[in-house]
């Protein structure tokens, strides 16, 4: 009797894992839809249209209406938030609670293929929620230029630059996920407040700016605004992209190490 199982091309194997994630998502998308779609729109409405109505266009807003200045940065913030969400509890749970990863790596799918699929899944989730946000916010006049569409893949890159590190963290911790709360409190929230989302970091004391420079959010904000409003040299843009790519690569390699340690015991 010959088994019907077989090994497939790595790309196909990654596709099968994505299919599994999609099967789950089809049943459970409602719970994530609110946070990944409505939250940023509420935010944009409150901060951009509401509070922003009191802010006069000036040099600090690139002479743009505040809501227009804010919209691309909210996109990047959304990307980091969705990416963190998809990389934290779902990954920890797949090791610890339902142990789905152990089930998958008992098949021909390898640890590397599994990780690749998980990262691609995060990327897809970030991309789709970003695109939906841009289209809806554009209807309200928050985006004024088709360059906003280019900001979507940029936000995805910034999301992964942070999210892949969260994947690595999720593959390392073994508690109930307290580390994610801390990452959110001590990294995501300060990053959102001080890395150029609501105002340019030139408004901050000079000594504190390097702190913003290391965050993926700041590079993402710079790029996303430049995609829509222009005014950035190609070299500068390449520098931002390169920095984000280095963060993604570092996050993926660290996650890969942690996945191997945890799954091949």
């Amino acid at each position: 009797m010959a088994a019907t199982g077989r090994t497939v091309h790595p790309v196909a194997a990654i596709g099968f894992v994505l299919e599994g994630l999609w099967t789950w998502y089809r049943r459970n998308w409602r719970s994530t839809a609110v946070s990944s779609f409505l939250t940023p729109l509420m935010f944009l409405t409150a901060m951009g249209f509401g509070l922003g109505s009191q802010i006069r266009p000036g040099p600090a807003t690139d002479n743009l209406p505040y809501v227009v200045y804010l919209a691309p940065a909210v996109l990047v913030g959304l990307a980091v938030q969705v990416s963190t969400g998809e990389s934290s509890f779902p990954v920890l749970g797949s090791f610890k609670w339902d142990q789905r990863y152990y089930a998958i790596t008992a098949t021909p799918v390898t640890v590397d293929q599994l990780l690749a699929a998980q990262v691609v899944w995060v990327a897809l989730r970030v991309f789709v929620s970003g695109l939906a946000y841009v289209l809806v916010a554009a209807l309200f006049g928050a985006f004024v230029n088709a360059g906003a569409l280019l900001a979507v893949p940029i936000s995805m890159l910034a999301g992964l630059a942070f999210g892949t590190w969260v994947v690595a963290l999720a593959a390392t911790v073994n508690d109930e996920g307290n580390a994610f709360g801390n990452a959110f409190r001590f990294v995501v929230v300060p990053m959102t407040l001080f890395a150029g989302t609501y105002y340019p970091i030139s408004q901050l004391p000079a000594w504190s700016r390097p702190l913003a420079w290391v965050t993926p959010l700041w590079h993402g904000n710079e790029l996303a605004r430049a995609a829509e409003f222009g005014g950035m040299s190609l070299l500068t843009a390449a520098g931002h992209v390169a920095y984000l790519l280095v963060l993604v690569a570092g996050g993926v390699l660290t996650a890969r190490w942690r996945f191997h340690v945890r799954l091949k015991v």
Partner: protein
């Protein structure tokens, strides 16, 4: 030495976790079509061994061939032809019963049409057709276990690894599972089963090894092991608390061997009734007595001085 009929061959297989050696150099050979068992108490190293055979845990030292291939280098190709039932169910609790089978089948490169048909067959096999479109989470332990076994068969494996298939299930659920496993065996699937239940080992295994502290302490068929390491019968005597020890000297010369357990004496002999009669003439007055056949439990006790389940 390449023998197509040998599905698993381990020589001096070792697994270490840090300084701790969980598997201490075991030799195992499993042939096509047999039901092979690892019998041993908790911590014996059964699961560690199974994970190495399943090509999910790299070996620390020794030789290991599974389906004639090296797990370190050909893991995916080996896993494509294995079925794995881990000690702990790792089903996708938020999917339906059927989705669990279909999604898993895809990891083995099966087409959508193949997994659809296969899922229907396996649902019938696992007696879960009624629950096909229910979510897994609320299912009973026995149903989840049957689903895990069904899932492990999605690729029609040549070798099925079952790590404690019925631990934690009630007797009825266990018998249902044994029946399913027996059918698989009849259909020619090679089984490797770990268990700490001697009745499970006797039910399912053609051949087994007794494992303790990371080592194999005996090997053979259930009947062969009993014949080799125990007497034909066992006389069990229970005494009022604190009178047990006083009776031991009266029994020693009547039997091949006397084991003193906290709650009873086990007297190994080929004729339990006659020993009981002789003991009675010597004034031994147990509160209860029982003559039974030797089991693998007795073999384990003989070999290790400890009981399998404590």
């Amino acid at each position: 030495m390449s023998d197509d009929a040998v599905l698993v061959q381990a020589d001096g297989l070792v697994k270490r976790f840090g300084d701790f050696e969980a598997v201490r150099g075991i030799d195992v050979k499993v042939r096509r079509g047999e039901a092979f068992g690892f019998l041993g108490p908790n911590g014996a190293g059964k699961s560690s061994t199974m994970r190495m055979i399943a090509c999910t845990s790299p070996r620390t030292a020794g030789e290991l061939r599974v389906l004639g291939m090296d797990p370190d280098r050909q893991g995916p190709r080996i896993r494509a032809r294995l079925g794995v039932v881990p000690q702990q169910d790792n089903l996708d609790n938020e999917l339906t019963v059927r989705q669990n089978l279909q999604v898993y089948g895809r990891y083995f490169g099966l087409s959508r049409a193949q997994v659809r048909d296969r899922a229907t067959e396996l649902l019938r096999f696992a007696q879960l057709t009624d629950r096909a479109d229910d979510q897994v989470d609320p299912l009973s332990g026995g149903m989840k276990r049957r689903l895990t076994i069904a899932r492990s068969l999605v690729n029609e494996p040549e070798l099925l690894l079952l790590d404690e298939p019925t631990t934690g299930l009630d007797p009825q659920a266990r018998h249902l599972l044994w029946d399913r496993l027996f059918r698989l065996k009849q259909s020619g699937v090679t089984l490797i089963v770990t268990t700490h239940y001697m009745d499970e080992a006797e039910q399912l295994c053609d051949r087994l090894v007794v494992m303790d502290g990371g080592r194999i302490v005996a090997e053979g068929s259930p009947a062969g092991l009993i014949a080799e390491h125990s007497s034909r019968e066992v006389l069990e005597l229970r005494f009022p608390i604190d009178q047990q020890q006083a009776n031991v000297p009266l029994l020693h010369d009547l039997a091949e061997r006397v084991e003193v357990l906290p709650d009873r004496l086990l007297i190994y002999t080929d004729d339990g009734e006659s020993v009981l009669a002789q003991a009675s003439r010597r004034g031994v007055r147990p509160t209860s007595s029982l003559v039974r056949r030797s089991t693998l439990e007795d073999v384990f006790l003989r070999l290790t001085g400890r009981t399998l389940v404590d």
